[in-house]
């Protein structure tokens, strides 16, 4: 039988089944399933090296032999499609001999340096040799050794990337690393070179293996050929135990395992805990290495109290006494509306909910928000933008969408798991991907068509799509004139001209949308971060209406942080949607009668000295708020600032009281991912130093202010449960919405549009403390297109001064492989180069000027 390329099993669109017999048991599986998967599905284990559940089978290692009656030769089960009536034996003498021979072959040149190999105890080759191999070797030649710099050694340690170390001698040529890199991540920085028994895995010439998913290569290597500095030589795996948790950096909530030492209070590594609904077992490097912040030397160890301008170490009691006194003063003198609260949306439900109750019930105001890095927030939470954040969305449904559109999103940086899903949809299901962005992004590498539209013309491109649908008669809508009026464009070509995109290209996307069987449309941070997010969201509502996207799929602005969805559902917003508000009112027996104040208006009121006290939980507004000057001015005017964080930051530097909080590994917590799925992060270690979980701190503060927030933990749990049960999905507008697009005038001096976001190896303001992630990228840079670089006569590595009307920074240049217009990108993750100092909250598009620094 011919070996077949395996189709990704879990999402096969085929509904036919086949029935076969494996080791005497009858097994029925969907057509297209391999014999191996059929066996696994009934718990029959077949040893493998090169098979991976999420990659196409190549049948290379030959470890998975089975005997199939009527077939004279052994068959590799990972590459043989199960067929009706097959009689399969997985453990016959012939199979056993076959496996033994394969193990003998693999071990010929394997160094067997297990005692000094980091993979010892955790190694597929070790395990399978013990289970199926010879205990002796018939090989009496010298083993093949790779020679580097004239030195031949068993310890062939080559550093092939910031984290990864390669030992070619140990490699058993399963090619999983190269295949995962290519198939799952679309990366080509690692390859197989030469051939035959001198085949070697190595970094591509002149390159480093530094892609944002590279940590997975180490995890899937079945032997110790690929190891990383994170874990290597620190501990033996059998001295550790695993604790299931979730990732606090991705809003999909990648499922992870902590490996902690049994007796020490320390986490040694993070690996994937495959969840096919979310992550397929792949972890982005931010998830894998981001745990290192837990044990960073820079952790805040004790509370700090500001005394005569200096922050001094204090006990919890002292710190809480100060809080009691000072907050009490503000409360008594000025009233509760003069106190506000900002909280990081990657914290767990208990912390978010307690925090919101502290502000609303104990302090009695609506000054609470979790949206810290967005400008010009809406006053209400029932706008069109909120609709798009509240509609049902399932990550796994990306797989079987035949048309996928990403809009205003550098997905790889914002939503790495969803980016991989889209790759998978392309690779395994031939989905068509379209990417619509104001500048070219790496994430668009899977796209059939990438439409790069003029920056700031987001509404126009969506309008063009809507109009194309109507003009090309792809859809029929009852009132096309209303659509024209709502979009402000009479013709598709007008809208296309505004966004600078060829009408033909717009028609291609419109046609795909109209014809699609199932659509996924993901809108990203460009929408959320925009001053005019409501306009853009309205445009998307119109698009949904024209093409009926949700009826045949899903359309959403994905939430960005690990628990943004939780924060929304729990109503940690100044003015939560009516259903949430009424549930909260019911639970708490009341609702503060004060004006809702979001982050923006809190900052405005701080400046006006109408908010005098602020509690910041886990966030660093100075670093993240998209107008640094504005944020600083507000915070500096405060009479009393409490900041709870893991690390010192610019915000803690202003604080009167600093309280150390626990990381997510130090207490059990629940997180709601972007789909609304509630996931549990178990406690891996005890709280480090004197830190405490966020919710505990909040409750201590409430206690001091004279209110017990919850009668018991159980009461808190039930409150949260009730809120999570509330369906907070808002319904679509019932007609077309005006989007009112106007072109923004800009200064002639500042002409270069600036995009700000995360580096692919960082998330927000904390990952700077993870040394592995710093190894990938440790400082800010400006990414510019080759054309723009030529204009300014700047080269890779040059320093440039980047100025905006409000600030300037100096950063090194990276010439981008994909940017092709005037937009430049600067990451926001590095506290030494705060890019937010260039931003102005009232701008639609931030613009800068660039000049070369001559040394």
């Amino acid at each position: 039988m011919a070996e077949v390329a395996k189709k990704e099993g879990s999402t096969s669109r085929d509904t036919k089944t086949v029935t076969l017999t494996i080791d005497g048991r009858s097994v029925t599986v969907p057509k297209g399933t391999t014999v191996l998967e059929a066996a696994l599905s009934v718990g029959v284990q077949i040893p493998t090296f090169c098979w991976h559940p999420k990659l196409k089978s190549i049948g290379a290692c030959r470890m998975c032999y089975v005997e199939i009656e009527k077939m004279p030769k052994l068959q590799v089960s990972c590459a043989t499609e199960a067929a009706d009536g097959m009689i399969v034996h997985t453990d016959s003498d012939l199979v056993k001999r076959g496996r033994r021979a394969v193990l003998e072959f693999i071990l010929l040149n394997h160094p067997l340096d297990c005692p000094t190999c980091d993979k010892g105890g955790d190694c597929d080759l070790q395990n399978l040799t013990f289970a199926h191999g010879y205990d002796d070797s018939r090989f009496d030649f010298q083993k093949r050794r790779f020679i580097e710099d004239g030195v031949e050694s068993t310890f062939d340690d080559l550093r092939i990337g910031p984290e990864i170390i390669l030992n070619r001698n140990r490699c058993i040529h399963c090619y999983k690393c190269v295949r995962a890199n290519k198939e799952a991540f679309g990366e080509y920085d690692l390859g197989a070179f030469e051939r035959g028994n001198v085949t070697e895995i190595n970094a591509a010439p002149g390159q480093q293996v530094d892609n944002p998913f590279s940590g997975n290569l180490v995890e899937i290597c079945p032997v110790g050929a690929l190891t990383n500095t994170d874990w290597r030589y620190k501990i033996r795996v059998w001295l550790t135990q695993t604790v299931a948790s979730v990732c606090p950096y991705t809003s999909s909530g990648s499922n992870i395992l902590f490996f902690k030492e049994k007796h020490q209070n320390r986490v040694y590594r993070v690996t994937g805990r495959r969840n096919d609904d979310i992550d397929d077992g792949w972890l982005p490097d931010i998830t894998r290495y981001g745990y290192q912040i837990i044990h960073s030397e820079d952790r805040l160890r004790t509370p700090l109290i500001k005394k005569e301008g200096n922050q001094e170490t204090a006990t919890w009691d002292e710190a809480l006494a100060v809080i009691e006194k000072r907050l009490g003063e503000i409360k008594d003198k000025k009233g509760c509306v003069c106190i506000g609260g900002l909280i990081d949306p990657s914290l767990d439900n208990a912390t978010l909910h307690s925090f919101s109750k502290l502000i609303r019930r104990t302090l009695g105001s609506n000054n609470v928000d979790f949206r810290i890095d967005y400008r010009m927030l809406p006053k209400t939470s029932s706008d069109n933008y909120s609709i798009l954040t509240s509609r049902p969305f399932r990550i796994a449904d990306i797989d079987n969408s035949d048309v996928i559109i990403t809009f205003g999103s550098d997905l790889l940086k914002e939503h790495p798991n969803e980016y991989l899903r889209i790759r998978k949809a392309c690779n395994f299901h031939d989905s068509r991907v379209f990417s619509l962005n104001p500048y070219a992004v790496k994430s668009a590498d899977v796209a059939e068509l990438e439409l790069v539209y003029g920056i700031g013309a987001d509404e126009a491109i969506i309008a063009a799509l809507c109009l194309a649908g109507v003009e090309e008669k792809l859809v029929s809508i009852p009132n096309p004139d209303q659509l024209k009026e709502a979009t402000g464009f009479a013709l598709m070509t007008e809208a296309a001209a505004v966004c600078g995109v060829e009408p033909d290209q717009i028609k291609i996307v419109a046609r795909a949308l109209a014809k699609a069987r199932k659509v996924t449309l993901i809108a990203g941070e460009l929408v959320t971060r925009s001053r005019d997010r409501e306009n853009i969201a309205s445009a998307l509502c119109n698009l949904n209406r024209v093409f009926g996207i949700e009826e045949k799929g899903q359309i959403a602005v994905l939430s960005r942080y690990a628990n943004s969805m939780g924060a929304r559902k729990l109503g940690v917003l100044p003015d939560p949607p009516a259903v949430v508000k009424s549930e909260l009112t019911k639970l708490w027996g009341g609702w503060p009668d004060t004006e809702p104040r979001n982050t923006d208006s809190m900052l405005v009121n701080m400046k006006k000295e109408e908010i005098n006290g602020l509690i910041v939980m886990g966030a660093d507004p100075i670093m993240l708020y998209p107008d640094r000057e504005f944020a600083c001015e507000g915070l500096e005017k405060l009479d009393f600032l409490i900041v709870c964080d893991l690390f010192e930051s610019e915000t803690t530097a202003l604080a009167d009281v600093v309280l150390p909080i626990c990381s997510w590994a130090e207490y059990p917590g629940e997180y709601v991912n972007l789909e609304g799925r509630v996931q549990q992060a178990n406690q891996a270690i005890k709280p480090l130093y004197e830190s405490r979980p966020g919710y505990e701190i909040v409750e201590l503060i409430a206690d001091r202010l004279g209110q017990k927030l919850f009668e018991s933990d159980e009461v808190r749990r039930i409150e949260i449960e009730k809120l999570l049960e509330v369906d907070n999905g808002l319904s679509w507008p019932d007609s077309f919405v005006n989007t009112g697009w106007t072109n923004e005038e800009h200064d002639d001096e500042f002409t270069v549009p600036l995009a700000v976001g995360d580096d692919p190896h960082h998330c927000g303001h904390r990952t700077e403390k993870a040394s592995s992630l710093v190894n990938f990228c440790g400082e800010a840079y400006i990414e510019i297109s080759p054309g723009l670089a030529a204009n300014y006569q700047i080269e890779e590595g040059d320093s440039v001064r980047v100025e905006s009307p409000v600030g300037k920074i100096i950063v090194p240049v990276r010439i981008s492989d994909f940017l092709d217009n005037d937009v430049v990108f600067i990451p926001r993750n590095f506290s030494s180069t705060p890019v937010t100092s260039l931003l102005m909250r009232k701008c639609r598009v931030d613009r800068v000027k660039i000049s070369k620094v001559v040394s």
Binding site: M63, F105, Y175
Partner: protein, 199 residues
């Protein structure tokens, strides 16, 4: 033209210790002995030495000894004779050729040709070359021949593509047909035949 089952003609490339090496297009079923000895074709063995063996279908096919060459060059007849028609590259070698040496040349080729994707071929061809090389050099150890035969069995039918089969089939047949030469090499650490020139 040809035989009942193998119809048509085929070009045979005659090479090795042959007087008239070259390409001959003949009907399938054409007698191999005739191809080698007929003055119109091969014209006999170089220097009129005695024929030792023939690889009838390219480097990957089992060998035929002198007494087996009265056979038709077609698919069925060659399979019956224990070999294959293969590519039609007929390699002839005479009595003064060491079979171990021939096999070393062949496995060297296959080892070099192996792509490295699947384990048995990638590792097995290299191991076989190491073993045959040491026998050829007079360093063979008792048990090596059995080991070679066993390794061949672990490659045959176990690889993704037919290169693995191709590499081991001539070796297996060379051991079966010329076992005494292999044994001699191990015991006496040199060739049984006077073998002082190459192809």
């Amino acid at each position: 033209m040809g035989t009942e089952k193998s119809t048509g003609t085929k070009v045979f490339s005659l090479s090795g210790h042959i007087k008239r090496p070259g390409n001959y297009e003949v009907e399938l079923g054409f007698n191999l002995k005739k191809l080698i000895y007929d003055p119109e074709y091969g014209g006999g063995i170089l220097n009129d030495k005695k024929l030792k063996g023939v690889i009838p279908g390219g480097a990957s096919t089992p060998l035929l000894t002198e007494d087996m060459i009265d056979v038709g060059l077609d698919y069925e007849a060659l399979v019956d004779a224990g070999s294959m028609l293969g590519s039609g590259a007929v390699i002839v070698f005479h009595e003064e050729t060491c079979i171990v040496w021939v096999m070393l040349k062949l496995i060297h080729f296959f080892r070099h040709e192996s792509c490295g994707k699947c384990t048995p071929c990638r590792q097995g061809t290299a191991w076989l070359e190491q073993l045959i090389h040491r026998i050829e050099q007079g360093n063979g150890k008792p048990g090596d021949i059995e080991k070679i035969d066993d390794i061949c069995g672990n490659i045959l039918g176990r690889t993704i593509c037919p290169l693995g089969d191709a590499a081991v089939m001539p070796i297996q047949s060379a051991i079966k047909l010329y076992r005494d030469e292999w044994d001699y090499h191990i015991v006496h650490k040199k060739c049984l035949v006077k073998s002082d020139f190459a192809f």
